[in-house]
Each structure stands twice: as structure tokens, then as C-alpha cells.
Amino acid sequence: MAIDLNEYNSNLKPTWCPGCGNFLIHMSLKKALSELDITPSQTYIAFDIGCNGNGADKINTYAFKGLHGRAIPLAAGLHLANRKFTVIADLGDGACFHEGLDHLIHAIRSNYDITILIHNNQNFALTTGQATLTTDEEKPMYGLPDSKPERTLEPSEIILSPNPSFYARGYSGDMQQLTELIKAGIQNKGCSVIEIMQLCPTYNEECTPQWFMQRIHKVEDSANTLEEARKIGTITNENINTGIIYRNTELETYYELQENRKDSQSELVDEVNQYDIQKLFDQFK
């Protein structure tokens, strides 16, 4: 029985611009949690700073709104403290691929059992539209009227190179597919990365819903090799593939690789206790 979506809502109204993709991303996340029967008290979301993070107090779950670029390390810590929680890191393309790029790489290679939602609106939106590495090379941006001097990089290249256990791409305009992708990401054991192509009518006005609809193709089957995944994942002027792009079910999670935690039944958060260290002292006598 799915949980009533209202249970995930706080009493505040979102402050996003009309037509912003964040509305449906948040709705998809809530629907995914609800359909998986994960209650607000079983969910821990680490929010970043940006338009995406402005949704932090609009959702009623355990949450931590920390610092710019730091949603992923917060999520990793939350997961390590208590594996029972469904842990989500929610962040923008700016946070993920600039200030916090190292965290993305290490979370994937460590294979923490968390789900990373990247709101890719192709700019630093909250700070009024500066260029990120996903911004189109020719596009004039705030402070860069002649466009950015740096090259654009493919998020799929960055996400695939540390060999993730799960990589999907969704689109903020397709709530049904996005909900399914978030559900699959949460259910995957390991670090699941979901890149969400996000509408930002204010600073990325060229990329309208029509623009996306002309380019988006849904892939049915995920790739089994990284080489194949790179082909599916690459975005061209004509084509953006969405769906589960790559899965690697062979990878063990960070926790499974901790020899000293192998047989532990309890969670670290429950292990704060008064331990007798007298035996340790006795060794020095």
C-alpha cells in the first residue's frame, strides 16, 4: 500500500520559478518513496545549496541541508552511521561537478549504498546563471557575455569512469519514468547515480520541453560494459538517451568490504556506549 504523498510534504510552498523542473523532480522522489513504502522517518535526504536545495524545507523527511558541494559526503556519513535509512543526496550540476566533484568520484568508487540525484539544469542557477561544465560552449552566461572559455564536459564520462554500480538518466518532464528510475536507484545495493535533465526556463530558456522532446530517446536495456554505456550515455546535438544506462551488479558495497563489520548486526549509531578499557590498560602493566 503506497503511502499518502501528503505525508512527505511540509506546510511550506516551493519558491521555484513557474515551469521549473524541480517541481516534478521532487514529486517523482516523493512518489518513489511512497510506492516503495519508505516512510518520511525512514528517509534521510542530504540537500545541497542551490535552487534544488531550496526544496529542503518543503519535504518532510529527516534531512540535512549542509554546504555547497557537500551533499554527497553528508549522505555517505548518514549511511555509514545507520544503514537502515534510505539515504538520498540531492544536488545540482554545479555542486556535483565543480565544488563537490571529488565527493562524487569517491562515493562511486567507495560504492556507498546511497542514491545520488543530480539536478542537471546546465548552470549555477541560484546565483543567477553562471556557466557550469555542462553549459553549452556557445551560450552567453551571467558574467560571460562571450560564453565560457572552458570546454564543456560530459557528466556521463565523469560518472562512468569510476565504474558505478548504477547509472541512470532521467528528465524532469517525464515524471513516470523518473519515478521508476529513482525507485530502481534506491533498490540498487550500492551507489546509484541518477542524472536528471532539468528544465530551467529562467537561465536555460532555449532548452524548452519541446527541445527536450525532440531529442530524448528512452533506452530499454542497460549496458553491460562501460564501453557500451559510454555510447548510450553520450549526449549529442540530436540525441539524449534516458533510462538505466549502466549497471554493475558484481560490485560489493563499502560496508560489505569492511572485514571488521562483517558479522555485526547493529548499526554504528547504536554503538555509542560505555566500554570498559581497563583490559587495554592492563596490557601496559
Partner: protein
């Protein structure tokens, strides 16, 4: 809650965390092992030149505590106190140690019983409820409890982000109230040696060790030792000053960092300072050479 050991360079790099812990009221314990110098400094020689940086760390205004270890006993006690303070007051606590302490060998007969763990958690309606002590309800997230947001945006009692002028001021006051509550519960610094002696040395950290050695060699001095450095108790210091003692600040750094913190808290300006900053700790001879 977390324990994170750092040296100065790493501490600088991670200071955003202290500020974030401050506003979100997340208990955090940081061990800052000092060595001499700015930048990469002199790897790896000793000094105590990160006191000021610890006390002033993090942008914005928020309460924190700084404790200062001097030997194995104080390390054992203070790290426990650090966790209890961090959790009770929901603040970042920085425990200062030094390369000299970390790499010295001490012998102890025994150590006292472990302190009772104080987690300071209790259930409530609002995570950032305004109270007289400034301390709000905080509960360990679990499935059967009410979820809440830890918010590094300025927020109201219900943790909703706010730009309301009254709410900003009230929440800032609530947080800072915790520093006053903590100060009331911290001990005064300990006075070692001869309380009747005319000369009083003031210090913290490893300087205690050669000074206590000098006292046991018969040197007629008193020594005021700071373990709980910030927030800062100043009554004992001010009593010594007003009774006309000769006060000498002794530090293992260039500018008298403890002295600056004490001056800020007490208004007292140190007139005599012994400052050693050549990478070596203070030795017994450095103390015995003081003309008293």
C-alpha cells in the same frame, strides 16, 4: 556527531564544517594536533600556534568550545569532556594538542574511571526550539520518531529557512545563549605551585610539563594552567592581577596566542611574555632561566 583529527593545514581546509556544525547545532569533536608554522611550516617540529585559529575558526558567529591537552591524563579526560560538551550543547568542540604531546612518552600509574557519557538528547516538537539555556531538543533519527531538517540556512524553530528579521535575531540569540550556559558550567583554570609566590606564570598545553618540573625542582612560582580555553574563565587571573602579582605569559608560539584570547576575555594586557617559536618545545632550562 563525529571525531576528526587534523593538523593545521587540514584544519584550515575543513573549517567550513565548523561553521556548518555551528548553525545546524550538530555536535562535532575535532582534534587539532598543532605543529609549528604557517603553510607547510616545519614538518615535523612542535609549537602551539593554532590556538587563535581554533578559537576564531569558521565564518559567521556561533558558539563553540576549545579545550587544550597537556599530557596523557588531560588527554584522557578532555577527550571525554569534549564529546559530552559537544553533545550536551550541540556545538563544535576543538581539542588542541601538540606534536610535542602526541609524540612524547608518558608513564602513568593509573587513569581515573571513565566519565559518564552525556548525549544530551531528548524528544521535542521543534528541532530548534527556543529555550532559556539555548539548548533545543535533539533526538537521534530513528524510524519511530518525528523527522526533522538540520538546516544550515538561518531558520526558525521548526527549521524552516527564514529571512524574517525577528526570527534571524531570535535564533542567533538562542544559539549564542548556549555559550553563556556553557561558560557558567566550565571550571576556572588550575593554579599549581606556591599560591603565595610573587611570580605567576600563565600558559596552556605542553608548557605545563617543564613548568611543573621547575616547581618540583624548588622554583618559587605559581602556575595558572588553562585546559578549558574557550569560552574563557578569567576570575582567577583577574584576582591574581589585582593582588599585585607579577604575571608572565609563557607560550610555544611567536605572538602569545593564549594571551590574546585571555586579553579579549578579561581586558588584562600581559606585560611580560616568554615566547619560544623555534620548533622546539619549552625545556626545563627555559623556565629555570626566568629571573624571579
Amino acid at each position: 556527531m563525529k571525531l576528526q583529527p587534523y593538523r593545521g593545514g587540514g584544519f584550515d581546509l575543513m573549517q567550513e564544517t565548523i561553521s556548518c556544525a555551528g548553525i545546524t547545532e550538530t555536535p562535532l569533536v575535532i582534534v587539532l594536533a598543532q605543529r609549528i608554522g604557517a603553510g607547510t611550516g616545519v614538518p615535523t617540529w612542535t609549537g602551539s600556534s593554532d590556538i587563535h585559529t581554533a578559537v576564531k575558526s569558521g565564518h559567521g558567529e556561533f558558539p563553540k568550545a576549545v579545550l587544550c591537552v597537556s599530557d596523557i591524563q588531560s588527554g584522557y579526560i578532555l577527550i571525554q569532556q569534549a564529546f559530552n560538551i559537544a553533545e550536551t550543547y550541540q556545538i563544535p568542540v576543538i581539542v588542541l594538542t601538540e606534536k610535542q604531546i602526541a609524540e612524547s612518552i608518558f608513564t602513568v600509574e593509573t587513569l581515573p574511571r571513565a566519565l559518564q557519557i552525556q548525549r544530551g538528547t531528548y524528544n521535542g516538537e521543534n528541532r530548534y526550539e527556543i529555550t532559556n539555556t539555548g539548548i533545543s531538543p535533539r533526538w537521534i533519527p530513528s524510524f519511530d520518531k518525528k523527522p526533522y531538517l538540520n538546516n544550515s540556512d538561518e531558520h526558525n524553530q521548526a527549521s524552516q529557512s527564514t529571512e524574517n528579521m525577528d526570527e534571524i535575531r531570535e535564533m542567533s540569540d538562542k544559539r549564542m545563549q548556549k555559550q553563556s550556559t556553557l561558560l557558567n558550567n566550565l571550571p576556572e583554570p588550575v593554579l599549581y605551585g606556591n599560591p603565595q609566590a610573587q611570580t605567576v606564570l600563565v600558559g596552556c598545553g605542553s608548557t605545563k610539563n617543564p613548568i611543573l618540573d621547575a616547581i618540583s625542582e624548588g622554583m618559587n612560582i605559581a602556575y595558572l594552567h588553562y585546559e578549558y580555553l574557550f569560552p574563557t574563565r578569567t576570575q582567577t587571573l583577574l584576582n591574581l592581577v589585582s593582588s599585585g602579582k607579577r604575571i608572565i605569559l609563557v607560550e610555544n608560539n611567536q605572538t602569545g596566542e593564549l594571551g590574546k584570547i585571555l586579553t579579549e576575555a578579561s581586558g588584562y594586557q600581559f606585560k611580560e611574555k616568554i615566547l619560544k617559536y623555534n620548533g622546539k618545545p619549552l625545556f626545563l632550562e627555559d623556565i629555570l632561566n626566568i629571573q624571579i
